[in-house]
Symmetry: none
């Protein structure tokens, strides 16, 4: 993702520790987000501790917008989400991160400028900040232990943004330089084992032989074998025979 397209601005409201600002920058860039805004950071700006922690995502800090108030930070945004762990007794839509980022992608595609507010480490967003938001994002955490830190909250939001806006491959198979075995490969493998194991006296007693052969074929056919695996299985059997014939 060298040049991310339109995306939501991640706004850290009155963040306290520089380390957490740096960690948030890393979490954003992990998922291709690079529009950071800061509202009145406690320890001033720029912050060397943020730079150290951001290693690799330092560009986001250099380009981060600095604002005195939440109102100024969202002044150019047409739809604003606020992340909060607890109920605030406000009448406002509440979305899961998944639903929120789906909506964000739709609004951005329609030309909206979208932002997501993240509160200070301890207290979280103040009600006056949340009052400026169009909707709330609530992460479905364990109610017995809802304490997500700032960077984690940014991470989960970025993760859902990426899931909603890129084609995620849900299942694939990494191949180690070999194709899958063909039906012919599998037939030859089964025949090789049946022949040698018959000689070896494995299919005993006679009454069980057919069932044992079928179980072995079922094992092979259930196994996702590459041609290299099949060659290895042939080689194992051939080598056992050589060993037997060496008689050492």
């Amino acid at each position: 993702m060298p040049t991310p397209g339109p995306q939501p601005a991640m706004i850290l409201v009155r963040p306290q520790m520089g380390e957490n600002i740096g960690a948030a920058a890393r979490a954003m860039w992990n998922f291709g987000l690079d529009r950071m805004r800061l509202v009145d950071p406690r320890d001033g700006w720029p912050n060397p501790k943020a730079v150290v922690m951001a290693s690799g995502a330092g560009r986001l800090l250099d380009e981060a917008g600095l604002f005195k108030t939440t109102a100024e930070a969202v002044s150019d945004c047409s739809y604003v989400f606020a992340t909060t762990a607890r109920q605030r007794d406000m009448t406002k839509p509440v979305f899961s991160p998944e639903a929120a980022m789906k909506l964000a992608a739709e609004k951005i595609a329609a030309g909206d400028k979208v932002a997501v507010l993240f509160g200070p480490e301890r207290a979280g967003l103040e009600n006056d900040d949340i009052a400026r938001a169009n909707a709330i994002i609530s992460v479905p955490v364990n109610p017995d232990f809802p304490s997500l830190n700032l960077a984690q909250c940014v991470l989960l939001t970025g993760y859902e943004w990426r899931r909603q806006t890129t084609e995620v491959i849900h299942e694939t198979t990494e191949m180690a330089g070999s194709d899958w075995a063909t039906g012919e490969d599998m037939e030859n493998l089964a025949l090789h084992y049946e022949e040698r194991l018959t000689q070896a006296g494995f299919f005993f007693p006679e009454t069980k032989a057919e069932g044992m052969k079928r179980n072995l074929r079922n094992l092979w056919s259930r196994t996702p074998l590459t041609r290299a695996d099949v060659q290895m299985l042939h080689g194992i059997l051939r080598q056992m025979v050589r060993w037997k014939e060496r008689g050492d």
Copy 2:
């Protein structure tokens, strides 16, 4: 989530800093996961720094299982995921966190014991750890900046577990009178073949031996084997040895 039901074990393999073990415990409990296992933590165990960082999730550390090796840590598990950022040139299924936790929920509902392996902070899992896993979990990160830390990787996995376990199970597996083989069954099978095939001179040349053993372990670990299948594979090998010794 006061009493979580059956769930995957989160296995931290050779974790380095205690702070990261504590942060991983917090990330787990944020999403109701509380079965932590540790393989050979660098700074020993228990670790006071882990306890401080885990504040609120300390119970997970108290109850964490401590193991010397990855093999021991997965010995009671019948399906194991490995989290890794980069390709390892192994033939193995690769899942998104979403698809992986969906599968984990289905397997657990079907009675499987499932585990997820997380590697050390710097290097990540070793190939020999991954060779013991049935599948890989790959987080869809920004390819230009894929550096997730340990606790973040645990957090995203836990988040997807929570998302997927609110869903109904649509699929299960019909078993033909035998349970799936456990990690211990698979380890014993691999050791039996490695021992005999070493005697037989199969792992040749010496420079290729480790790679050949890993390929064989990958073949086993990729294979949905029942305990009956494992017994058959032991029996095949024993019979080839008997045949050799008969020298007929």
